[in-house]
Amino acid sequence: MTELILQALYSGVLQGGSYALIALGLALVFGTMKIINLAHGELVLLAAYIAYTVESASGLSPIFAIPVALIIVCMTAVIMYFLVSLIKTDRELNSLILTYGIGVILTNAILLIWSAEIKSTSSAWMQDAVVVGPLYSMRSEPLFFIISVLLMGGMWWWLSRSWYGRAVRAVAGNRDAARLMGIDPRRTEIVSFVIAGILASFAGVAIFSYGVIQPSLGHVLTIKAFIITVLAGIGSIPGVLVGALLLGVAEALTITLASSALQELVGMVLFLLVLFVLPNGLFGAAGRRG
């Protein structure tokens, strides 16, 4: 029994690492611009499909797809920002619907390009088992866990210590006042989207390396990412990591101790609980109540 629970914890933590990577981009754009990018999951998925294409065309490990994914996904992210910036009124609400529409476009574009068939890596290296004492995982899992934690640490350092970090939050707070401070709002916002694109690229390659992808997955990823963002509390990067680990572990424990049919329930119940009990998330500042 202990072995079972240990393994569940371990799997949950590793899974949480990739959840964090997926959620971070969404949390960043949300925390800095008050925009929930409902197409973020599709961005991640796009990166995953690029990894697939690179792998099947070149036979190289999906890792080598990262540069290609970075270029394409970041370009897509910039186009998305461009569209968002065209919104004239009520940006918070309209961007929600706009990015939702972009998500629909991306999902269907992926469907057109890559068909509905499931794809998955054929890289044996990525899927080989790594055994640490009684704990098992695929090699890609700890690999991307480490990458995820590193990226997150870097992001955290950069956002909290850098002038840029302050600038994005200022723009979110009051555009005109930010401009009076000497901040170019468009530039800081584009940077946010590009960073979200970078994070999505890594996340996409990660999920392709140990999971199965299909066109309808994007939506699921977006929802997971949002749940984690709520758990974290707006604008908290450590919160994202903790929230993601919490979700990953809670899911793994539910599957192990109860039934996997209840897995999805866990995330949702956790989400509602945190909203009601800890309205500011685990680490966040105020702001979600009216």
Binding site: W163, R166, A167, R169, A170, A172, G173, N174, D176, A177, A178, R179, L180, M181, G182, I183, D184, P185, A285, A286, G287
Partner: protein, 233 residues
């Protein structure tokens, strides 16, 4: 230093300013007074590039400001302290202050400037980690003032700084304005308390209904006459 010539501007289809011309000399404190809705704030916003100009020119040191985005203004040494509570609500007081020194050349000195702001408004130091959104009306006003001074601006444009401040603080504020002028800064001040504004000013403009109706050296201003003009509709 700042020359505004025949300016027309407004919000969308509504024009507010009608051929406004003012001239601000370096090192002087120029005050713009006038009743509510005269267009004072609108003029300041137009100078800062926050509003599109439909006619006329604005020049800084003989160079036109058209085409220069608002966010380049602090780099040119021009900072505006907006009216109302345009603070960053979700950020702490200290973060708000730091943003005042956002332009790269001011970043290095930001710590020192920050301490200066705290010295000026000790209340802010007590609250340095409080969210700006929860400040009282007057505290927010102090914060806006302190933040504007962070970039050590050559030209300071201030909109109704005394609004909502306790009398003691207003006294200090006007002393500060005097000191800033003495340091050689150019200041444009929009104020509702006419007496005090004219008291510190070198030059006075009176605006009404989107037009400049009086331009006079402060020393020559006859308060009686000014008030008559003020109330003549």
């Amino acid at each position: 230093m700042i020359e505004v010539q025949g300016l027309r501007a407004g919000y969308g289809a509504i024009n507010i300013l009608w051929d406004v011309s003012i001239s601000v000399r370096p090192g002087e404190l120029t005050t713009i007074i006038g009743p509510n809705g005269a267009g004072k704030t609108t003029l300041l916003r137009a100078i800062m590039g926050l509003l599109p100009v439909s006619q006329g020119t604005i020049q800084l040191n003989d160079k036109p400001l058209s085409g220069i985005p608002t966010w380049k203004m602090p780099d040119l040494g021009v900072v505006m302290i907006p009216e109302g509570r345009m603070v960053f609500k979700d950020m702490t007081i200290e973060e708000n202050l730091m943003l005042g020194a956002f332009t790269p050349k001011h970043r290095a000195g930001s710590r020192r400037q920050c301490d200066k702001a705290y010295d000026m408004f000790p209340r802010l130091r007590e609250r340095r980690n409080q969210r700006a959104g929860t400040l009282s009306g007057g505290e927010a006003q102090m914060l806006a003032m302190g933040r504007g001074l962070m970039a050590d601006p050559q030209v300071l444009i201030i909109d109704e700084p005394s609004l909502g401040l306790a009398p003691v603080v207003v006294n200090e504020l006007f002393q500060t304005l005097g000191r800033l002028k003495a340091e050689g800064r150019t200041i444009i001040l929009v104020e509702q308390s006419t007496h005090r504004a004219v008291g510190v000013a070198d030059h006075v403009y009176l605006m009404q209904g989107g037009k400049v109706v009086l331009s006079q050296r402060a020393a020559e201003v006859d308060m009686e006459q000014l008030h008559e003009l003020y109330f003549a509709h």
